[in-house]
Symmetry: C2
Subunit: 337 residues, 2 copies
């Protein structure tokens, strides 16, 4: 058998799966941001026609999956696996979105790293020879997240300067063993990293050490220089978290000039009052499906290292005085052959 494992965290895929379809669905605020023109669908009503924010989030996932399947020219019945997760308690957005699709399903919890986690596992399952097609799906919704994690919207709470804004959005990608499109060539699985940050309004700082850890491992284990990638992009570290990662690399004598963050790409930070940037599973999901994958397909970029970042806390863990464990999964994407 071919040697796939390059090091402690990274595997090179022997038969890189192809991304044949993708779609990003977003809410009103996101539809007023820099990615507006690229979303598959933007709702002017964040309820998406549903009776609760939670049901709206499920509706977004279903729309994204359906559109991604359309682009791939496939139906749900042709999927061998669907992998999905979200931020809601017991991941109900995903379970209720995938209910009725009749697809073998694995539920994930990776907080805001879920797009990268689901993409990683989908790619590994296809490369492992277990199926020909898989979907990776995730979502977040500002209103369901605020209600669950912080305070009901009606309270009109003041936000701290380090806070980020949960993206109302969903992303879905379809991977296949055959076809044309961008490919997943490497998967670097994250370890849980916790440097003791306890402020749930500063999750960029909590996740930055995990992002540094995974990106460093990926570069060391693949032997690639940062400049190999047109973009190294983290999930939702925001302004502050990105600076911390840059600082960590700077101390190693590495200037990560091509480091970007989805949290800084989804909104116009000057104009949209989102403090440190976007966050949530939907943040990296809509950036992947509406910016990076189209850009790879069109030849704007050739290599992107997509690094989903997640803060593995809960309101209960914070109430009990715990610090915030972070994780980051990296997926190396390459333009069409």
């Amino acid at each position: 058998m071919e040697q796939k494992r390059l090091g402690r965290q990274t595997v090179a895929l022997a038969r890189p799966p192809v991304l044949t379809g993708w779609a990003g669905v977003a809410g009103k605020k996101e539809g007023e941001g820099p990615l507006a023109a690229q979303f598959h669908y933007v709702s002017q009503d964040d309820s998406f026609g549903e009776k609760s924010w939670e049901k709206a989030e499920s509706a977004m996932q279903r729309m994204a999956l359906s559109a991604a399947l359309d682009q791939a020219g496939r139906t749900a019945s042709e999927l061998d696996y669907a992998l999905a997760g979200d931020l809601l308690n017991q991941c109900i957005s995903s379970s209720f979105a995938l209910r009725g699709q009749e697809v073998p399903f694995y539920g994930l919890y990776g907080a805001c790293s879920t797009m990268a986690e689901s993409l990683s596992l989908a790619a590994l399952l296809l490369d492992g020879g277990f199926g020909a097609r898989a979907a990776a799906v995730t979502s977040s919704h500002f209103c369901s997240a605020e209600r669950q994690y912080r305070t009901p919207l009606e309270y009109g709470s003041q936000r701290t300067p380090t806070a980020q804004w949960t993206v109302t959005g969903a992303g879905a990608v379809v991977l296949e063993t055959e076809g044309a499109g961008p490919r997943v060539t490497h998967v670097t699985t994250g370890k849980i990293v916790d440097k003791g940050v306890k402020d749930p309004a500063n999750m960029g700082a909590a996740m930055a050490p995990a992002a540094y850890d995974t990106i460093r491992a990926h570069l060391a284990e693949t032997g690639r220089k940062p400049s190999f990638y047109d973009l190294i992009v983290t999930g939702d570290l925001g302004e502050l978290g990105r600076e911390i990662v840059l600082d960590f690399f700077h101390r190693d004598g590495v200037e990560l000039k091509n480091l970007s963050d989805c949290g800084l790409l989804v909104y116009d930070l000057e104009r949209q009052d989102v403090h440190c940037g976007g966050s949530g599973c939907g943040c990296s999901a809509v950036a992947l499906t509406s910016l990076f994958l189209p850009g790879l397909k069109q030849g704007r970029w050739k290599h992107i290292l997509f690094c989903g970042t997640g803060a593995l806390l809960s309101p209960t863990s914070t109430q009990q005085g715990e610090s915030i464990p972070g994780i980051c999964h990296a997926v190396a994407l390459e333009g069409p052959a």
Copy 2:
């Protein structure tokens, strides 16, 4: 490449991974039940020396993983992957248990099917050639689950007759590509099945259709008769859920004489006042690690179909009038060669 996929949901592993270490850790009530003598560790104090039930649950996971690694003669640094999940919001038992282990980690959410889901994905990752060793871990705790899903213990709420009792317990298994021990030969991935049951105090009935669906798919796709297995065992359907599965098969003209349920094995239903039986991620996890794997190793059984069952609801989905989506993942286990 060899053909691994047998049908819509089932794959046959080309190089069946070996279970080289396992351990079940349980609470006081479980330690007074039929499996008492087989647990790796039973605490007389359900706090496990921690200051909260949530921290106690994490402590159980760490103990189970540590003991499973000991049995395998391995350390955490030798694991290529750890896969874990639990019932708590944002799966904090798992994240905080795996924090500090320095292991590439994928978080899962499969509700009470998590032992089977983590075992499935761990086996697939090894069979796919992505690593040599992986761990699958899960837990549940009666007190953290009651507080989160139902009412605080202090209220002393009356339980309905169809209710089940969340097992205080954790299980961990170590899988390797080489070694001696029981093996994972097939993985049948569940689809989400929802037949409209809305009563969260009757989760056996909600999950039974998913169990039927997956077991039927497994048998059809492998061409195996039910009698091929010494035991076909569901996760935590309890008395009522098990009867529903038997009834579904009976209508198909199949008598599933060897169908058992972990929820009926962990407690003495006559003596321990648990109504319909045990439930929770820990239920099938302690039955797997303390009964089935030792029994396979000792030759008591040769083939077991281990079917984790999960109810993918949340308190919020129930409050919003939703029915309960169920899922069941099946793993075919075979005694040492």
